[in-house]
């Protein structure tokens, strides 16, 4: 028991460092910074490079890593985050995701993708308490964290800049009026956060013993959860959240196994959010619109699309492309269409209800598995399985998500991320084996397994999806959902039960995610849990933001650009992801409301 506690403490240490960085940036800028994840991997790789390759002493390497990460953080804030965060936190969040893609891949090109052995700079098992062995290395890490946290606490309480950081976090506008140079303060916060990310990365490498450029991703995700657990924006909360999560996770793994890790992490998160909607030490957010999306709706109006575009688009997509395009384009087209279905359905939740759910991979997976199992073990045809898959995704996801609708602000995004992750983790526990030989669609006795057939099926489903979405948007129901998204207080005051409509919007989106998942399953003929990743969820969100968060047809454009671009960029294989990230940043920079949204 005691050894598990020690393991948890060591683990919590790293989470706490990362969480403080995330909370700090969130506090002063109101932006969730995905680039922070990359600093974990980068810190680890830089430390490896200085110590193992250049032969520097660890104590010289450590400050070097901090300086480099801090400087990079400043550069990112000046060029990408701050210009956007000022008026569109959502666009800024998307661009930090692009930045993290670029950082990871540049790091991968520089250091190669290989796992590297981190040299043992300090003894790792020279002490023991009971059965648990630990070393000077662990003690030093805990001590450094202690010192860093102590200095931070004093700095924030008594330092002039520290006080300015707190003032900015409390109320940006008021701080600005009091003569605080908010821009500079945000730079300082970003530098500190990036340096802390680098430090956490070095600790990961020390603790785990090996590192590669993407090794920070999972720790980053957990640190993010820890920051939320403690209360976003609360630094004390971040430290507490980090250690609480580390220790509970260690005990959870001891009893339920490593496979249950994600379930444990997000279960804790969701329980805490239900009991204390503002996190362990954060303030409960007052009734307010979602900070990510609510402010976003007022910023732009959709472009007017001339009527002739619709029939032309229908003919081009449904007739011209199937006739002239080769199979490669058609197969890429099927992926574009399926993601367009998922994303178009998702606009009700993300745009109209203004809940930026981050876990759509969950309902997609439910749809895929339902459809696969129905057609394999019951006499159900593909054509019936697709809507049934949507239905079961809507029902199961709604039941699982039902407790979270009282949660507010950013927390709801993170709670939905949890729901999505838990769904996939449960599938992995129950049915860890992949499913093979999923039947291909048939019409009568004809097997519809050619790229053209898949393309046309997917195209038909997309057209249906868009029609349904159009009907919903223009119905009374759609207007009520929109009212919840654009001004929740006003909606509540008018007697609209906001919670229920958010849940309904989520169920509609889950239905289309399930349909998309079903289409994927019957095309791949094989599914396993590794297909439904967090990256899949993020792709859905990115597509929606790209096209205009509340426009179903915008999702089609977003899907063409984001999935098509990955294929078009094949001419430069190594730089593919870097260029992809740059394109994403440029689009967000110049059309922050989405491609089809005019800024106002």
């Amino acid at each position: 028991m005691f050894d598990t506690l020690i393991a948890g403490l060591l683990r919590g240490n790293v989470y706490a460092l990362g969480a403080v960085g995330i909370s700090l940036v969130f506090g002063v800028m109101n932006v969730v910074n995905f680039a922070q994840f990359s600093f974990f991997g980068l810190g680890a790789m830089l430390a490896w490079f200085f110590v193992a390759e250049l032969g520097l002493s660890f104590w010289i390497a450590l400050p070097l890593v901090l300086v480099i990460c801090g400087a990079l953080g400043l550069l990112i804030n000046i060029t990408v985050v701050r210009p956007l965060a000022k008026f569109l936190p959502l666009a800024a969040m998307l661009s930090t995701y692009a930045v993290s893609q670029i950082l990871d891949n540049v790091s991968q090109i520089t250091f190669t993708a290989e796992f590297r052995v981190f040299p043992k700079v300090l003894p790792t098992s020279n002490f023991h308490i009971g059965n648990m062995r630990f070393g000077t290395s662990d003690v030093v890490m805990l001590a450094i964290t202690g010192v860093v946290m102590g200095v931070m606490a004093v700095f924030l309480k008594y330092g002039r800049t520290g006080q300015a950081i707190r003032a900015t976090a409390q109320d940006q506008e008021a701080a600005l009026q009091m003569g605080i140079p908010v821009g500079r303060i945000q730079h300082v916060a970003f530098v500190i956060a990036s340096a802390l990310g680098g430090l956490a990365g070095v600790f990961i490498a020390l603790y785990v013993g090996i590192a590669n450029p993407t090794s920070g991703l999972n720790v980053g995700m957990t640190a993010f959860v820890a920051a939320t657990l403690g209360g976003l924006g609360s630094l004390g909360g971040a430290v507490v959240g980090g250690f609480v999560l580390g220790i509970l996770e260690a005990f959870g793994i001891h009893f339920f196994g490593d496979t249950a890790r994600e379930i444990i992490i997000f279960f804790i998160l969701i329980v805490v959010l239900i009991v204390r909607p503002g996190g362990l030490m954060g303030k409960v957010p007052l009734l307010s619109t979602e900070p990510l999306t609510g402010t976003f709706l007022g910023k732009g109006r959709p472009l007017k699309i001339p009527r002739w575009v619709w029939p032309v688009a229908f003919v081009v997509g449904g007739v011209v492309i199937p006739l002239v395009a080769n199979n490669y384009v058609l197969t890429t087209g099927t992926q574009v269409l399926i993601y367009a279905v998922i994303a178009a359905g998702f606009t009700v939740t993300a745009g109209q209800a203004a809940v930026l759910a981050l876990g759509q991979a969950g309902p997609i997976a439910i749809g895929a598995y339902t459809s696969a199992l129905l057609t394999l073990y019951l006499p159900v045809s593909f054509w019936l399985a697709v809507p049934l898959a949507g239905l079961s995704a809507a029902i199961v996801a709604s039941i699982l998500a039902s407790p979270i609708w009282g949660v507010k602000g950013h927390y709801i995004s993170i709670a939905t991320l949890g729901i999505g992750t838990v769904i996939v983790a449960i599938i992995r526990l129950v049915e860890p084996q992949g499913i093979y030989g999923i039947t291909m669609p048939k019409w009568g006795d004809t097997l519809l397994a050619t790229p053209v057939a898949y393309y046309l099926i997917d195209f038909g489903v997309l057209v249906l999806t868009l029609v349904v979405m159009w009907r919903i948007r223009h119905s009374h129901l759609g207007k009520v959902i929109s009212s919840v998204g654009s001004d929740e207080i006003a909606a509540l005051a008018s007697g609209v039960r906001a919670r229920d409509y958010k849940a309904l919007a989520f169920a509609i989106s889950a239905f289309f995610s399930g349909v998309g998942g079903s289409l994927l399953a019957h095309q791949y003929t094989y599914i396993d849990p590794t297909i439904f990743t967090m990256l899949m969820s993020l792709l859905v969100v990115t597509i929606v933001i790209m096209g205009g968060v509340s426009l179903p047809y915008g999702a089609v454009i977003g899907s063409i650009i984001l999935i098509g671009a990955m294929e078009l960029l094949r001419f430069t294989p190594e730089l593919r992801i870097v260029v992809y990230g740059l394109v994403l940043i440029l689009v967000v920079r110049f059309r922050p409301g989405g491609i089809l949204v005019r800024n106002s």
């Binding site: 908010v182 384009v329 790229p451 294929e567």
Partner: protein
């Protein structure tokens, strides 16, 4: 204060101006652009087909060049390039030079199916190597089958790849079940009575491997004191490990790959367990982990083997890539795969049909992994593959005769 105000204003002005210029045409532009994208992709694909079809024999490679599996993509590419160089220096396939077309799939099914279709549509490609993981390879299989293009999953140790595939899926990778049945037998033969186990909880690899190990262990009376499923994406295994060695087993088995085994063995020693570690993999991060010393695995490829074919390969590899200190079974597997494909093409012809015939007939192809490769044409796997017990000593795997 003033400073930040002005910056805000300029940003707003800039972003307001741009859209007003373009707004009317935008929708039309987007539409036209998406159609042209499609057409452009068509024309490049067919142009590539025409230009290189005449003389060169093209093999496709669907692999992860970026993303989380990029490490393996890099290793495969080095070995493939070396093998192609040697084949071409020796006159190619009956005079035709061999060339490889690489496509990055990130081992993501969304991209591997697009890659598959791209290769199927490119008539100059007569065989495709890949993909790396089952989650990327198996979804692409129906497309290769429909395109009558041979999919050579040289790294697919998952038995389902060939068992559930068609006559177009072939592999020279030893199946996981065969590996771990051997492992259980071998451990028992060393007088070990009980083992603690960790295994990767992955659908396509770890779980079937562990099931094969467990079934054999039960049959021969090797006690498993505790088995913990772990994920390769985790990096803290201490909670699982303290539990797995709680019953004080004689030895420890990890069913997994190199990078996760490196983390595991380091932490296993850190919590004070001293029994033999059966596991790991000939892979750089594992080999260079100090705590991995003395680990034992059954190996297909042994860099230090005295076999002259192996020595020639290792020497050529290090000459071409002086920075590489180790040659592992990943490189060896890819190197073999190219030679098998070339041998098949020499026998059956360089068309898609010809290569399939070649695979059905080919016998005793020289191999740095198996000595020689002959297919069992019903399983489309190597007939009776053998493993050699090896131990990690001084950062190198050597044959273990203890």
């Amino acid at each position: 204060m003033n400073l930040s105000d002005t910056t805000t204003n300029t940003t707003k002005v800039k972003t307001m101006k741009l859209p007003t210029i373009y707004k009317r045409r935008l929708t039309a532009v987007v539409l036209v652009a998406s159609v042209t994208l499609g057409l452009a992709a068509c024309s490049t694909a067919s142009a590539a087909g025409r230009s290189s079809a005449s003389d060169t024999v093209n093999f496709g490679v669907s692999a992860a060049i970026t993303g989380q599996y990029a490490q393996y993509g890099e290793q495969f590419k080095k070995a493939f390039d070396l093998a192609v160089e040697q084949v071409n220096a020796g006159g190619g396939i009956n005079g035709h030079p061999v060339a490889l077309k690489y496509e990055d799939s990130q081992s993501d099914p969304k991209q591997s199916v697009a890659v598959a279709q791209k290769f199927v549509g490119d008539t100059s490609v007569s065989l495709v190597f890949g993909d790396y993981s089952s989650a990327a390879s198996i979804p692409a299989s129906p497309l290769y089958t429909a395109g009558k293009l041979l999919q050579y999953g040289y790294n697919n140790s998952n038995p389902a790849f060939t068992a559930k595939g068609s006559e177009y899926q072939w592999s020279t990778s030893i199946t996981t079940s065969a590996t771990y049945v051997w492992e259980a037998d071998y451990i028992k033969s060393k007088g070990v009575k009980s083992v603690g186990v960790t295994y990767l909880n992955t659908a396509d690899w770890g779980i079937p491997a562990f099931q094969a190990f467990k079934a054999e262990a039960d049959k021969i009376g090797l006690t498993i004191t505790d088995a913990e499923g772990v994920l390769d994406t985790s990096d803290d295994y201490r909670p699982s490990l303290t539990k797995a060695v709680g019953g004080q087993p004689d030895a420890f088995v990890h069913v997994g790959y190199g990078p996760d085994a490196a983390k595991l063995v380091t932490q296993l020693r850190a919590i004070g367990y001293k029994g033999t570690f059966y596991g790991g993999q000939d892979e750089k991060s594992f080999d260079a982990t100090p705590d991995a010393e003395g680990s034992i695995v059954g190996a297909q490829f042994l860099e230090t083997s005295s076999d002259p074919a192996v020595q020639a390969f290792v020497k050529a590899f290090k000459a071409k890539y002086p920075a590489e200190t180790h040659v592992t079974s990943f490189e060896a597997g890819a190197y073999d795969a190219l030679n098998v494909a070339v041998a098949a093409a020499k026998l059956g012809g360089t068309t898609r049909d010809g290569i399939l015939k070649g695979f059905q007939q080919v016998k005793d192809v020289p191999s740095v992994v198996y000595g020689t490769i002959t297919f069992d044409t019903t399983t489309r796997r190597v007939a009776s593959p053998k493993l050699t017990p090896t131990i990690l000593t001084g950062g190198k795997w050597v044959e273990y005769k203890g």
